[in-house]
């Protein structure tokens, strides 16, 4: 009965590869987010979706493409991975945009070699 789940938990890959991270929430929330947490633990929002519609798109390289097949899922696809993409990626959800309490998933630690 995990509220926000992500797969995989760990992802180790070579530079130049393409990879995806999946996120699912069973809270019935309308809004989902992707955050990146770097090695210094700094948390920065990347994207948010409300009911499958893109709401926030921060200055993220277009190698990153979120996809929301339905409001319970928000996946993150990353093309041509670079060393600097190594980080922990968190998915989060909230009841609606403006409902500020966000529930975070456990994170996916991406390591690019």
């Amino acid at each position: 009965d995990t509220a926000v789940s992500q797969t995989p938990k760990y992802l180790v890959t070579q530079m130049g590869n393409d990879k995806s991270i999946k996120c699912e929430q069973n809270l019935g929330h309308d809004t989902m987010y992707w955050y990146k947490q770097d090695s210094k633990k700094f948390l920065k929002i990347m994207f948010s979706y409300n009911n499958k519609e893109l709401i926030i798109n921060e200055t993220v390289p277009n190698r990153f493409s979120p996809k929301s097949p339905d409001k319970a899922h928000l996946n993150l696809h990353i093309n041509s991975l670079e060393l600097g993409d190594s980080a922990v990626y968190f998915c989060a959800s909230s009841r609606w945009t403006g409902e500020n309490e966000q529930f975070f998933g456990p994170g996916t630690r991406l390591t690019v070699l």
């Binding site: 633990k41 929002i45 948010s48 926030i56 975070f104």
Partner: protein
């Protein structure tokens, strides 16, 4: 304008002591100020939050103090326990906008 500055970067407190973490912001349009707690290997979780119409909010051992004129807010953890050892993030947002996080404070509480 969009930054939230957090200090200290790390904090060591003895069990039973008071832990204090401070944050400052510039954007006066921010109207929601949460604190998130993150344990190693886990995602952040909301601990306590405040809106600028009150100067203090208390939940158990955790208190937010808010100073609107100084554009500062702080988290006080009374009777700190080893189980409180975690990284704490302040954040701020405007209504429907995104959360802007501070840089985090690593708290260690020693028995």
């Amino acid at each position: 304008q969009q930054q939230v500055k957090q200090s200290p970067q790390s904090l060591i407190v003895q069990k039973g002591g008071i832990s204090i973490i401070n944050c400052a912001y510039e954007n006066t349009a921010f109207d929601y100020f949460p604190w998130y707690q993150q344990f190693p290997g886990k995602g952040p979780a909301l601990l306590i939050a405040i809106r600028p119409d009150v100067s203090e909010k208390k939940e158990g051992r955790f208190t937010i103090s808010f100073n609107k004129s100084a554009k500062q807010f702080s988290l006080h953890i009374m009777d700190s326990q080893p189980g409180d050892s975690a990284t704490y993030f302040c954040a701020a947002s405007m209504d429907t906008d995104k959360l802007i996080f501070g840089t985090g404070t690593r708290l260690q509480v020693f028995p």
